[in-house]
């Protein structure tokens, strides 16, 4: 079972796509049911169609290679082994929406991959997979390196970063990037894995892709597994797999809890391992699975997540800037045995405000880990603190 690592002749997907009209390409991607692999799961064919229909003098394709969600490292492997296919996916997207230029936004932490990526770009130009691709259709790609900022993986923040704009300025939406993105032009932002899958779908057909996964989450997902497991690493699974099956595969049975979706994802306790599945309609993820063994203190985990958000919030809007600090203080109070039930309730109230009033996905998703970890392990931690007092 493999989509990503299936046999593939580089160039096959692009050749097929160029024999079709852009509308037919979009139709094929829609039929495949492909949804964004960066986390939010937006239908890729629809995104391309919006960008194609939007008004603009020029259009852009941006590959999001910022991979900053804690516990995620599958794009690292894809960039190392499969940049040629990624470039093909970008060219296919460009043909579908009518773009001439693309950017790969590569996180600064992956600077060591820059020679690999640039080498693949040069090779693709020589082989005619970038540059002049068809009468009247040219497409080329360049890389911009990030500089260490988690929020720049959020698509509007990424565009700010590419444009030289301080973080936060564009975080009011709509309009979405498909209408007004990079320099106000229609822009498709897609994850590395999404674009590679698009190329493979063009080569093998939408039916081939749909044979894996569930009705609402078609195909496979690359999962990065870390934490207390025997075999950490990158795995390709069909959507719909239970957490239990996943843990069995990676040598993680006996875990106390699993954080799915990284710091901004949700915590699943062991009671739910055999009923919850990895899928957009159940437990969604951009690919991060972090496993906690029986001896772990989940408040310590939550404290680490909250330190992360305090550090990475761009500070542009108040609910996120100040909310994170209060949530961190609450966890620290619990850990030091100073917190009461009331402190926890106040923090949970703040979570609702942050979800509603934060301007971007960073602040809006902080409640995910806070509520789920507190919900499953908060009482136990408060009780422990009470005993100590």
């Amino acid at each position: 079972m493999s989509v990503i690592y299936s046999d593939y002749n580089v160039g096959a997907g692009l050749s097929k796509a160029l024999e079709m009209t852009p509308e037919q390409v979009i139709e094929t991607i829609k039929e495949s049911g492909l949804r964004g692999r960066g986390g939010a799961g937006f239908p890729t064919g629809m995104k391309w169609e919006f960008a194609r229909r939007a008004e603009g003098d020029e259009r852009f394709i941006i590959c999001n290679a910022d991979e900053g969600e804690p516990g995620t490292f599958k794009d690292r492997e894809l960039l190392r082994d499969m940049t040629p296919v990624l470039l093909e996916g970008m060219a296919i997207a460009a043909w579908a929406v009518g773009a001439r230029r693309g950017f790969i936004y590569l996180r600064g932490e992956y600077r060591y991959l820059l020679p690999v990526v640039n080498g693949a770009i040069e090779e693709a130009r020589r082989a005619g997979r970038l540059g002049s691709l068809k009468d009247g259709f040219e497409f080329d790609v360049e890389v911009t390196l990030g500089a260490g900022a988690y929020v720049c993986g959020e698509e509007m923040a990424l565009i700010e970063s590419l444009e030289g704009v301080r973080s936060g300025e564009y975080r009011n939406r709509p309009p979405y990037p498909v209408e007004k993105g990079f320099i106000n032009m229609p822009t498709v932002v897609n994850n590395v894995e999404t674009l590679i899958k698009a190329a493979k779908i063009m080569a093998h057909g939408s039916g081939w892709f749909r044979q894996y996964g569930t009705e609402k989450s078609t195909g496979t997902k690359l999962i990065s597994v870390s934490g207390d497991v025997a075999q950490p690493g990158v795995y390709e699974i069909p959507f719909g797999m239970t957490i239990h099956e996943l843990l069995k595969m990676v040598g993680g049975l006996g875990a106390k809890a699993v954080q799915v979706g990284g710091a901004s994802g949700i915590c699943i306790p062991s009671e739910e391992f055999s009923t919850r599945t990895i899928a957009f309609e159940d437990v969604p993820t951009g690919g991060s699975v972090i496993v906690f063994g029986p001896g772990r203190d989940m408040m310590e985990v939550l404290e680490n997540f909250m330190e992360f958000f305090c550090d990475e919030s761009c500070g542009y809007c108040t609910p996120c800037r100040e909310g994170n600090v209060v949530l961190l203080e609450t966890v620290r109070k619990i850990r030091s045995g100073q917190a009461t039930r009331n402190d926890v309730d106040l923090a949970l109230g703040l979570c609702s405000t942050m979800r509603l009033a934060s301007k971007c996905g960073l602040g809006q998703s902080v409640p995910n880990p806070f509520e789920s970890i507190m919900g499953h392990f908060g009482d136990e931690a408060l009780a422990r603190a009470g005993e100590r007092r």
Binding site: G68, T72, F73, R76, R166, G227, V234
Partner: protein, 159 residues
């Protein structure tokens, strides 16, 4: 390196990129900053001033942009920049012992530079090496599966 303006070479490279791309000049900022930091080891004030002129972005905005990113520094740093991951998987894998070994050996804390100017140590967040933690970056190179002994051995190789 002690001059107070960007080298002709850098300015020409920025103009070259601008010609090649033919995009609004404010889009030159990120690439230019990487080039400047590569040259000077940090982003000096005069460079921000000049970048403001080159890109048409207000000086305060250039400053806000630069200070937002972990990997840009507005102060001179040690010859080698060492970043330790402090995020969850590396935390679970024992990053505290790694950091302690380094602090004990060099007598400085995270965020500080060794008195001989050899290293600047700092924390950063998840660097995508979570399956091989604890992880660190030295001048852009990654090192993984660190132990207190291994980290000191690796650092010894940097002059």
């Amino acid at each position: 390196m002690s001059t107070n303006e960007l080298t002709r070479q850098i300015k020409e490279e920025i103009e070259e990129l601008s010609r090649k791309r033919n995009l609004p000049r404010h889009t030159l900022l990120m690439n230019s900053l990487h080039r400047i930091q590569e040259e000077y080891g940090y982003i000096p004030d005069f460079a921000m001033q000049e970048l403001s002129e080159i890109t048409g972005i207000a000086p305060a905005e250039v400053n806000a942009y630069v200070s937002f990113y972990h990997f840009f520094s507005t102060e001179p740093t040690g010859r080698h920049k060492v970043w330790f991951c402090r995020t969850i998987s590396c935390h679970l894998a024992g990053k505290d012992q790694i950091v302690k070994a380094v602090q004990d050996r060099f007598g400085v804390k995270m965020g500080q530079t060794t008195p001989d100017g050899r290293f600047t140590f700092a924390f950063t967040n998840c660097m995508g090496m979570c399956d091989k933690g604890p992880a660190m970056l030295i001048d852009g190179e990654t090192y993984t599966k660190l132990t207190p002994e291994k980290v000191l051995e690796i650092l010894e190789k940097y002059e």
